[in-house]
Every structure is written in C-alpha cells, then in structure tokens.
Symmetry: C2
Subunit: 268 residues, 2 copies
C-alpha cells in the first residue's frame, strides 16, 4: 500500500539472513543505491538496523527489545505464566504456551524442564506447525474452511516416520483433536520427544492459546506422559477461567497505555 515503507520493511527479512552491504541490499530490492542508503538510514535511526565495524548492515538491537516488550504485554501470557510454573513444579517437565497468528503458530512462553535433558525451542520461534500438539489445538479451532485453506498451503516435512505426512491426514487429526479437546505429539517432531497439550479458551469458547508438556523418552515413556493429561487439562481450564474473567473474549490488555512499566528486571 505504501511503496516506500514496503521497500524499507523488505530489508528486514533480507538482513535476517545475515549481514549485507549497501550494494547487496540495493540489488535485492531492485532500487538505486542511493535509495537503499536512505531507507537503511531511516531504519538505522529507529535502531532496527545496526551498522557493524565493516560497514555492513545487520538487524539492530531495538528489534529484540520490541519483540521482548510485545511478548511481555500479551495478556494471555501474563495470566498463564504462574499456572505454567505451577505445572512445571508438579511434573518437572518443559511447559510451553503458544498462540496462532497469521498462519503461524509460535511459542510465547516456556518453563524449562527440571531434568538435565532439555529440548531446543525458544520463545518467538515458529512452531513445527504440522506436528506440534499446540499447533493442532490452535488450528483445530478454526472454521473448517480456514483449516482446509491452511492445511493445503503447508509443507509436510517428515521430521520422523511419525510426522503428519500430508494435508488429509492433518485435517483428520485436527478434527479428532477438536472433538476430544486435547492433543499429543508422539515423536512426530523428534523421535524421542513426546508432548501432551490442551487448549486455553476465552469467554466465548474460542481457543486463544494452547499449552503443552513435553518430555523425552529417556525420562518418561509416552504412556507415563499421558497420565499427566488430566493435570494438563485442569491447568488449561484454570487459565481459561482466569483469562475469561479479565476481558470479555478479546485480547484487551490491562490498560497500561502510554507508559511502559518495568515490572521485572534482569541480571548479569
């Protein structure tokens, strides 16, 4: 809609691949060097782009800070967090919270396992959408038309032999998940890791987030993990109740507009 802004924003994913110099940016944008320079300068002023010692550009610090602030202001996350911690204290495994947005599912919170074996995942990282328990829960709540549309646009990488192979299988799985109200991922992403998840619902009954407990085979078998299902579901329902209490169905924040409260702090 706005050409200038469009071009400027196209620089960001480009730099996410790695540092680039002015010429490379201009080429890939298909614009004159001077134009690219001015766009980069504007991005630089806003801290979204940083110029390193060799004069090349890469993504800047403010980007992290923004993403950070954004995720901390998500009210579902705020409400869910203590529940996730409590769940982790009970079972000891890794707990995740995820949301669906714009054809992507991404983690917005995580409580690390107490066991020495940990799994790789990170807040903000897009989820393996075709296999993750949280992804199934979130997609299962979409209308059938939307599900179909999404399912057909996806790739179905075979992470393991138990990964969801194709769109029909995925749609069947989503239907099942939608009916039973919970989901699993049994070695569909990494051979040795299993997950059990449950949905968090708003006041209108729609799924606004999904949570899951994950653990590797070496700690508990899939069957043992499944015994946690009632606990997981109860936790998800507790979050849903808390969440429905605050804002009626939507994603309204707590009302802090205009100033940025620093509620928690970090340490060296």
């Amino acid at each position: 809609m706005s050409q200038t802004v469009d071009r400027a924003l196209s620089i960001l994913p480009l730099l996410a691949e790695g540092p680039a110099d002015l010429g490379q940016v201009a080429d890939r944008l298909g614009v004159h060097k001077s134009t690219a320079l001015r766009l980069l300068r504007t991005l630089h002023e806003h801290g979204l782009v940083h110029r390193q010692s060799d004069q090349r550009y890469r993504l800047g610090a403010r980007l992290f800070a923004l993403a950070q602030e954004a995720v901390e202001n998500l009210d579902v996350r705020e409400i869910a967090h203590p529940h996730l911690v409590a769940l982790n204290e009970k079972c000891g495994h890794t707990v995740h919270l995820a949301v669906y947005e714009e054809h992507e599912v991404l983690y917005i919170d995580k409580v690390e396992s107490r066991y020495p074996v940990r799994m790789y995942s990170r807040i903000g990282k897009p989820v393996a959408i075709t296999v993750a328990a949280v992804a199934k829960l979130l997609l299962a709540d979409l209308s059938e038309a939307e599900r179909r549309a999404v399912a057909e646009k996806l790739d179905y990488p075979m992470y393991t032999s138990r990964s969801t192979p194709n769109a029909p299988a995925f749609l069947r799985e989503l239907e099942k998940v939608g009916e039973q109200g919970w989901a699993t991922d049994l070695g569909g992403h990494e051979e040795s890791i299993n997950c059990v998840g449950a949905p968090v619902r708003g006041a209108d009954g729609r799924v606004v987030a999904a949570m899951s407990v994950s653990a590797p085979n070496v700690v508990v078998t899939a069957e043992e993990l499944l015994t946690l299902l009632p606990l997981v579901r109860r936790t998800a329902e507790a979050i849903s109740r808390d969440y429905s209490g605050t804002g009626p169905g939507n994603t309204g924040n707590t009302g802090n507009t205009g100033n940025t409260p620093q509620k928690e702090a970090s340490s060296s």
Copy 2:
C-alpha cells in the same frame, strides 16, 4: 531521512506499549486517520503488526521471528555457545553472553542454571547497564570520551544499596574493570545475586562481547563464586581465540547469504 518510513516505524514502539486502535495511532503520529491506516496496512502485510479480534492493532508475529533469526545468525553467539554450555556443565550456574550496541547492552545467549533457583533474564532483554558485570566489561572498552558521554546520559537506579550510585562512581568502576580485565556484580542488581564476568576479544583486541556466571547467595557465597574467576577468564579467552580465528576483527558471518538454513528445530 524518509518521512513515510519514519512515521511507519514510529508506530512500532507505540504498539509495544500495548494494543491501540486506528484513531490512537493517528493521533500520536500527528497524521490523518487515512494515512495511519495505510501505514498500518503496510506493516500488516509484512507481519510486523497484527490485527486482533477487536480490530485493534498490536505487534505481530514476524517481529519475533525476525529477532530470533537475527540473534541466531550472530556469529559471536554461534562460536561462544558450546563454550558457554561447557562452562555451565562445569559449574552448574547460569551463564550469560551479551553485546554492546547503540548505547545498550543486551543478552544474546543464556544457559540456564542447573539449580532449582533460577534468575529472571531473557535473551534480547536490555541489561541493567549500570550494575551488570557484562555491561561494565563492554563499556570499559570504549574510548574515554565515549564512556564519559554514555555514563552521563544514564540513569542510576538504586536497585539495591550496592548499586552504582552515579556517573563518577560508574566511570571509576569502568576504569578498574578495564585494567583488571574482569568484572563483578555483587548484589548490585538483586540483593541476593552475584556475578563474575570476563570479556571476549576480537583479533584486534577490542571487546566484542562479554560473558558472566551468575548465582544466588543461597547456592554459593560471593567468595565461592569468585573462585570460579580463573575458569571464567579461561573460557572467555578460549572464545576469543575461536572468534579471532574466523573473521579478522569484524563480525563477518559464515557466508550463508541468500538462503535461510534451518539448522535446528523446535518442538511442542
């Protein structure tokens, strides 16, 4: 330099404070609603902004993904990571890696403590710059003029009674840190948490990153933590050697330009 882009980017920090509707955005930008609409649309197309169910806008998912990709492509981080893990395995405490950029210090990697007591901090989060050991290390390497300039622009919040109180004290501390080649934070940020850190240097001897080990009093006393200093310094030097080996002094990446390799995966 580019007004349109400038305005569009100004929307991001605004939304970081919390969701806002069209009118609010237009007002705070000082532009007509239709203008704000078109800017928001462009941001939306790029996924930087998301429209929630109540029609209000907030920061979008792609922002997280971008920040994520960016941090994973930082070569210092990539090189340092195995060393940090190894250090964590030896001592069991939380290990941090941080860089300085554009008047901010921020964490770019973290290995969690193996002890049940953990500390709050998150990758991408700006560091408490006046007290953190890593911040002292990074700022100590700036020229005296820069140090002075930075120190005078800072706030000096008294997190605890042992926080750095003002600019002169901070500058003295930086001088000391620069000379001795290591730094501490003994309860300056949170009363019960101590840190020891050491600098990572590039081939030209300049400090490119800083690492630290942090532990709460309840696990080890400050004196015990200080016995780890040689180990921390050796680790930092090992990282420096690895880092200097790759690119001569700069922040060159590994050469993956044009395609985005998916080297690691997440799980539900």
